[in-house]
């Protein structure tokens, strides 16, 4: 029904629009008059598109007084007014360096690419949308050199994207996340529909980012949404359907029941664990003639991981008249997750309106409204994954008797698994609804020639409702009879119902003056402005924390009143800033820019509130000098350099204040309350953290040297070298436990990121085939310059001067003990080693293995990340392939799926060939039960045994498209139509075992199981009416 009405609407718009346009016929040729096939012809202000044929000819439906734009690789972008020439419209293109005259969005303004002196890169929405993703952030991966995008997982609506510009900038609690600016004001990129994005700019160095002062230490990402273009209303419709499945799964686990049980018994012997499977139990599963329904070899992994269909729709309207233009986008995403039960839905409206009120006054607005709904298990996808692996293969999720009851265990005298993940997925999911609005308005007034006054204001508002109903679900023994009692209830992360409302209001406004003047060959541009920001977050939670009378009435009022709780709080911060910029150039040959921002934040004590962040940069366009003017192959050569300082204030809201709080810092489930009488809970407060009353900004100084080169009009290259030093890092140092409180946030430490970025793009044609190849590489080295004495953190990492932050620090695996004789001769090792245990290296040579034998191991960050792309077009076909890779990173992987019998998890098949007295394996230790006895204590000791090479290269995306010739498109009542097939994460080359190597790096992330990435095969249509 819904689909039918959309179709009807489309038809209606088609009729309406169609009446205003006429067919325009023409051809596209190069400077020699040769036809250019494969050029894209677009009606300006619409999405009507066609492609020139082998003779360079095209026919397009366009308004007779409108304009068309022609794009073809190697020739840049050309616009031509139709002016009534509806037949034989011949357009000549001159091959030229692309992009030089593009206008790039920069902080508080725009700039010609040719005039840039800072390290700035940009990507267009068109380029981004070659891949399909529900969160536009994902589409930036590999597209902007200097930006590293790590997708933590493929979980729908919770991808855990980590953005790093030029490495981990700081170890501060202020974080390393870049500032995201949407249409001029701080906002959210994830809440946008990718189809509504016009361009994304990345400000990498201090020169370009300093205008954002205290917010910019980790770089700035500027997002511009699509504005309307003048002309009749155009309607476009995009549809994509994708078949999604896990990119990788640990397909090497022992899911053969009899094998599993035999291995368990042997592991129990080694681990000194009393509970074993009896021979008669094993026999039940090894008899070839057994009832396989009752005695299965059940593969739980494939019960939870599934292939799903993802769909996205986007409806766009654009147009305008008399100086007013609009662009409206309506988006819908339906994304079931590859993990059973999880899902994500997103509805999006983008409304942009611009109006030229008079010659001097322009008014504009941008509004994004986003509603999303996510279903997930309350303990998260990782817990769901490990609960799945915790199940053994001797049973399935639902009893074999057809009663539909959920299983708990099969032989509880031997093992009790973690919660039944199928029961969770079908009954106990969190429903998380998020309503988000970001809006901005601006008014720009030209006061007199060259002087412009612009004021902009807007706000972000987010309201989130978290609803977690915890039903009582019984779990039974696999062999339970109809009247048997349940073994236990499903662990649903507590009881009852919890509802939590959070809201954030975040208004921002700025006003600024821009003055431009050219005197002879001297060009001058000045900018000065002021900005204020205020942010308030509120939280309100209500719950009833004992089981409800039934699983049907699921609202708080229906729950047991005796266990009801309420809690709430709020927090606010504010910023005030003044900023300015000077641009000067002489003959567009010598370029100079200076920026400054003066910022104050409520997060610092009054005396240290204000900080000044200056920057300067300069560029020299050598190719415009006389001595190079006649070098014909050199199209463009510019060298540039910059220096500047940036700030970081993004720490907790009240870090300098000494406070007494009721929120227990050590155990979030309890507060400092205590019931003295046993019937009345007294509230308590404590000072549980130290505070430094004198903290100030954290500062990042960046030096950048770069060059932009274009040769033969075909090959363009960009190089950047940078040295980024962060100091006065706002950090919570570890302090001795005997101090008895949490550590304060202090200014201490220095970190350096030094690196190199290069990108290249080449385009040409071989006969009728046009092609382009390009790539970029980024090399970054993170070094802790000043930290004080080394700090070893609990998860076996170390912070030590001269090494990357959080370097791996662990025992060195030195093989497997083969005999008691070897053990006797080896240095003393804890946990009473036996043959088959792991042997560790005695680094300090004192004949004892202890904490001093841990060593620093490289690989916490990649050595370099790289991507390349290639594209080709022939007639109406086009093809793009995008590779993305990361080299030199290691990931520590332990627990379920890699260590045997962790909560009963099936061991990897390598354990079928584990060390035994008969089989002297040198790669797999003896089998044991993880968490039990000395065998486990020895083998699970954090060591290089679990450090896995996570380098990878993957074909991130392939897309094959076909644009219908306009004449044919007309037959199907459209102005243009493109269809395409795309594949995401098609092939991955890696040594990482089992799961996906692309995963977030975190101190706590030592578990092997992480929700996998997605492999997507999709089909899409882009239609314009």
């Amino acid at each position: 029904m819904k689909k039918k009405s959309i179709l009807f609407l489309l038809l209606l718009f088609h009729l309406f629009v169609h009446a205003q346009t006429v067919p325009v016929k023409g051809s596209v040729r190069n400077e020699k008059g040769e036809p250019l096939p494969g050029a894209t012809v677009t009606v300006k202000g619409s999405a009507v598109t066609t492609v020139t044929n082998a003779d360079g000819e095209f026919t397009i439906q366009a308004p007779p007084q409108g304009s068309i734009a022609i794009t073809i690789v190697g020739y840049g972008h050309h616009e031509e007014k139709i002016s009534g020439r509806t037949v034989n419209l011949t357009i000549f293109l001159h091959q030229k360096a692309a992009e030089l005259n593009d206008v790039v969005v920069v902080g508080y303004g725009t700039q010609k690419r040719a005039d840039l002196t800072g390290a700035v890169v940009a990507v267009t929405g068109t380029e981004m949308n070659k891949r399909i993703a529900t969160d536009p952030t994902q589409l930036l991966q590999g597209k902007l050199s200097g930006l590293s995008v790590t997708q933590g997982s493929g979980e729908a609506g919770n991808e855990g994207l980590v953005l790093r510009i030029r490495g981990l900038g700081t170890n501060s609690s202020a974080g390393s996340n870049p500032l995201i600016i949407v249409d001029g004001l701080p906002g959210s990129l994830s809440s946008l529909d990718p189809q509504n994005i016009e361009s994304v700019t990345l400000l990498k160095d201090a020169a370009s980012a300093a205008i954002y002062g205290t917010r910019a230490a980790n770089g700035v990402i500027l997002v511009t949404t699509k504005q309307g273009t003048s002309g009749k209303m155009q309607l476009s419709y995009d549809y994509n359907i994708g078949l999604t499945r896990p990119s990788a799964l640990p397909d090497n686990l022992v899911y053969n029941s009899a094998q599993y049980m035999v291995l368990w018994d042997s592991a129990a012997n080694h681990s000194g664990y009393p509970n074993k499977f009896s021979q008669s139990q094993i026999d039940l599963y090894s008899n070839p003639g057994r009832d396989k329904h009752l005695y299965p070899d059940y593969d739980w992994l494939h019960e939870i991981m599934r292939t799903v269909i993802t769909q996205t729709h986007h409806l766009g309207f654009t147009g305008g008249r008399n100086g007013t233009t609009y662009n409206i986008g309506l988006g819908y995403v339906d994304q079931p997750d590859i993990m059973l039960g999880f899902s994500f839905k997103k509805y999006n409206l983008q409304f942009n309106l611009n109006s030229k009120i008079s010659d001097a006054v322009t008014f504009g607005s941008s509004l994004t409204m986003n509603y999303s709904k996510r279903l997930y298990a309350s303990r998260g996808s990782q817990d769901q994954f490990l609960s799945t692996l915790s199940q053994s293969p001797m049973y399935g999720p639902i009893l074999p008797d057809g009663s539909g009851r959920y299983v708990n265990s099969v032989f509880p005298n031997v093992q009790t698994p973690n919660k039944n993940p199928v029961a969770i997925a079908k009954n106990a999911l969190v429903n998380d609804k998020d309503y988000f609005v970001q809006s901005s308005l601006f008014l720009s007034v030209r006061l007199f020639k060259g002087l412009e006054w612009k004021t902009s204001g807007g706000f972000n508002f987010e309201y989130e409702n978290f609803y977690d109903f915890k039903p009582v679900i019984n779990q039974y023994n696999w062999f339970a009879g109809p009247n048997d009692l349940p073994e236990r209830t499903l662990d649903v992360n507590g009881q009852g119902l919890t509802e939590r409302d959070t809201s954030t209001i975040y208004p921002v406004g700025y006003t600024q003056l821009t003055y431009m003047r050219s005197i002879g060959e001297h060009n001058l541009k000045l900018l000065a402005g002021t900005q204020v920001e205020y942010n308030k977050g509120q939280l309100l939670t209500g719950s009833r924390n004992t089981p409800f009378a039934n699983n049907i009435t699921r609202e708080l009022n229906a729950g047991p009143a005796g266990s009801q709780l309420a809690s709430g709080t709020s927090a606010e911060w504010s910023l005030r800033s003044y900023y300015g910029r000077l641009n000067y150039d002489y003959k567009e040959r010598y370029l100079l820019e200076a920026n400054a921002r003066y910022d104050a934040s409520s997060r610092f004590p009054p005396g240290n509130r204000w900080g000044l962040f200056p920057s300067v940069s300069a560029g020299w366009v050598l190719s415009k000098e006389k001595f190079l003017e006649n070098v014909s192959w050199l199209t463009n050569l510019k060298v540039r350099g910059s220096w500047g300082k940036l700030g970081n204030q993004n720490i907790s809201n009240y870090p300098y204040q000494d406070v007494y709080t009721s929120a227990n810092a050590y155990n979030t489930n309890t507060s400092y309350a205590y019931p003295f009488s046993g019937s009345n809970l007294n509230s308590g407060v404590a000072q549980n953290a130290l505070a430094d009353p004198k903290i100030k900004w954290e500062t990042t100084r960046i030096i950048d040297v770069g060059a932009d080169i274009t040769v033969f009009n075909k090959l363009s290259l960009t190089f950047d070298w940078y040295n980024k030093l962060t100091y006065d890092i706002l950090y919570k140092p570890a302090i001795p436990a005997y101090i008895g409180v949490n550590s304060p946030t202090i200014n201490n430490g220095k970190m350096r990121n030094r690196g190199f970025e290069a990108s290249a793009q080449y385009s040409d044609n071989i006969g009728p085939v046009r092609f382009s190849v390009g790539g970029n590489i980024q090399v970054n080295r993170n070094t802790l310059v000043k930290f004080g004495a080394p700090q070893i953190t609990a998860n076996n990492t170390i912070n030590i001067e001269g090494h990357p932050f959080g370097s791996y620090y662990m025992y060195q695996y030195a093989g497997i003990f083969q005999s008691t004789d070897e053990i006797a001769k080896a240095p003393n090792q804890p946990y009473n080693p036996q043959p088959g245990y792991l042997r560790f290296r005695d680094v300090d040579g004192n004949d004892t293995i202890n904490a001093n034998d841990r060593v620093i191991v490289s690989g916490v960050f990649p050595k370099f990340e790289y991507s390349f792309n290639t594209g080709a077009s022939y007639k109406n076909f086009d093809l793009t392939i995008f590779f993305y890779g990361s080299y030199g990173q290691k990931q520590y992987a332990s627990g379920w799926g890699i260590q045997p019998f962790n909560q009963g998890s099936p061991p990897p098949k390598s354990y079928l060939n584990a060390w035994t007295p008969q089989n002297h394996s040198t790669t797999t230790p003896l089998i044991y039960i993880t968490g039990q006895g000395n065998a486990s204590s020895n083998i699970t000791t954090p060591s290089t045994f679990y450090l896995k090479d996570a380098s990878f290269l993957r074909i991130k995306n392939v897309q094959i498209g076909y644009t219908l010739p306009a004449s044919m498109a007309k037959h199907v009542a459209m102005n243009s139509l493109r269809i395409y097939f795309a594949g995401d994460n098609l092939v991955t080359f890696t040594k990482f075992p089992g799961l996906d190597p692309e995963r977030a790096l975190g101190n706590g992330n030592v578990r092997f199981v992480v929700h996998p990435q997605n492999q997507v095969f999709s089909f899409g249509v882009k239609a314009v009416f």
């Binding site: 005298n413 009790t416 009881q495 924390n545 007494y660 155990n667 046993g678 436990a737 008895g740």
Partner: protein
């Protein structure tokens, strides 16, 4: 055109004219230290947080950290003795403790220091509040008791420990403290407990510690130091002052909620109240087999004739739980007994390989689900313990005198237990053995046994005789009499250039 123009001008003016306080933001739900320590209500709130450590950890926090409660009240201490077994803390029990073992080994270190810092902050500031001297001394007495309690715990486990009687952290000296000699720590504990005993009200236990509580812990400290005369005299003071008595409502009721309110026997407890401060008791001991009493304890309960099962004619191996000391079935869930609101207990269904579960402090009538919230208080000290401590000390001082007999027999004869008195005329050694046995039975699974074995120096003797359900014997290397401090503490000593802080010998 005019209207938006005016709007924007006013917006701009607004933008620039925000008041100065725009940048002054204070946490709306927390009190800044400048505004605290003004009224008695502030002292009450700060005192509450100090008591809250008595219930921290022993609650339901997550599926992987279910109520271990190290550092506060927890029965898991028993799994390191001949009373119980846990697969979860095997390395602790079997003598393979390491500085990196974590869980109990680090929590038992970290929790006391959090409480101690909280106490020291209180003591450094409470005098700023205008209070009359008695009231002030009562506050100080309560807080010094808690500080003394936690240093006592630290001293028993780690020996030499960092001792500070002022808040730490604000000066660089805080980061360079050595481990203070055990004797000095003990002096400080005495000072705290003596101050508490002298200044706290001499009443029954109200939820706040009272004079009797402090005297009880003084007795325990004297016993640990084998200062028998002092121990006997201090226990005698409690008995003479008469604020406490044995509970007559039944042994099991001591550990279940209705019986715990205004209970005359309880002298210190960690109090729970659902839904905001709940314990995991009902759920923890019925849903997993992570805590299992062992047959070694079960077999140590006498028959109702006062004879051990090896010699009592009342013992029948076919019906081993009949005719036994009533405290057995009140403490231990034996096979076939109803639990979880009426289900018979079958050890194999839970993988309870030792064959038993805990029943003390577990409300078997509750139909539990995972995460059931329990409100049973954790009993730290009760009058029966004082009587047994008195008997133990007095027997060392003057042999098995009549008052020794009467103290032990009072415990045995309590209503609902009614065990026959000890045979008359036994030797001092034999009395010592009897008292130690009585302590094991009376206080089973209350977290006392580990510390009793330690002070009797029997840990090294008894623990290696324990055969776990896996069939392996435990070990007890002598170094285990003192635990290693967490490795992170040693690493941080290096970070702060504090060479005076060293690891416990042997690790």
């Amino acid at each position: 055109m005019k209207h938006p123009f005016i709007l924007f001008i006013s917006a701009t003016v607004l933008l620039c004219s925000c008041s100065k306080s725009f940048l002054d933001k204070n946490p709306p739900d927390q009190l800044s230290s400048a505004n605290f320590w003004k009224t008695q209500a502030d002292a009450d709130q700060a005192l509450t947080s100090i008591y809250s450590y008595l219930i921290q950890g022993y609650n339901y926090t997550s599926s992987t950290n279910t109520g271990q409660g190290w550092g506060s009240g927890t029965p898991y201490w028993e799994t390191m003795t001949d009373n119980a077994y846990s697969g979860a803390f095997g390395t602790m029990a079997t003598g393979d403790i390491e500085p990196t073992t974590g869980t109990i080994q680090s929590d038992a270190y970290n929790t006391p220091y959090k409480a101690i810092q909280d106490c020291n902050v209180f003591l450094a500031n409470v005098t700023k509040i205008p209070l009359d001297q008695t009231t002030l001394n009562r506050y100080i007495g309560e807080v010094r008791f808690i500080r003394g309690y936690y240093y006592f715990l630290l001293e028993q486990l780690y020996g030499d420990v960092v001792l500070s009687l002022r808040p730490l952290g604000k000066d660089s000296a805080s980061y360079k403290l050595p481990r203070t000699a055990k004797a000095v720590v003990i002096d400080s504990i005495f000072a705290d407990l003596n101050f508490a005993a002298a200044n706290l009200p001499n009443t029954a236990y109200t939820g706040h510690v009272v004079r009797g509580t402090a005297l009880g812990y003084l007795t325990r400290l004297y016993l640990t130091l084998q200062r028998w005369t002092d121990a006997a005299a201090t226990a005698q003071t409690i008995m003479t002052e008469g604020q406490f008595s044995l509970y007559t409502g039944g042994y099991r009721g001591l550990f279940l909620k209705p019986g715990q309110n205004n209970n005359p026997e309880i002298m210190l407890s960690g109090r729970y109240q659902i839904p905001n401060a709940y314990s995991p008791a009902d759920y923890l001991y019925t849903y997993s087999s992570s805590f299992q009493p062992v047959s070694n304890l079960v077999n140590d309960y006498e028959c109702i004739d006062g004879l051990p099962i090896s010699s009592s004619p009342l013992y029948n191996a076919a019906t081993p739980y009949n005719n036994r000391d009533p405290r057995l079935l009140a403490t231990i869930l034996t096979p076939g007994v109803l639990y979880k609101g009426g289900i018979p207990f079958v050890p194999a269904q839970l993988g309870a390989s030792a064959g038993f579960l805990n029943k003390k402090g577990v409300d078997s009538t509750r139909a539990t689900v995972i995460g059931t919230q329990s409100d049973q208080d954790w009993v730290y000290l009760r009058y029966a313990d004082v009587l047994l401590m008195f008997a133990e000390a007095q027997n060392e001082v003057g042999g098995p005198t009549a008052d020794v007999y009467s103290a032990v027999n009072a415990v045995r004869a309590r209503p609902g237990v009614n065990m026959p008195p000890l045979p008359a005329g036994i030797s001092q050694d034999s009395m010592r053995t009897r008292i130690r046995h009585e302590r094991r039975i009376e206080l089973a699974l209350e977290g006392q046994r580990y510390f009793d074995l330690k002070r009797w120096r029997l840990d090294r003797v008894i623990i290696p005789t324990i055969k776990d359900p896996s069939g392996a014997f435990r070990t007890f290397p002598l170094r285990d009499t003192l635990w290693p401090v967490p490795q992170s503490e040693i690493d941080l000593a290096r970070t702060y250039n504090n060479p005076a802080f060293t690891q416990t010998p042997g690790y």
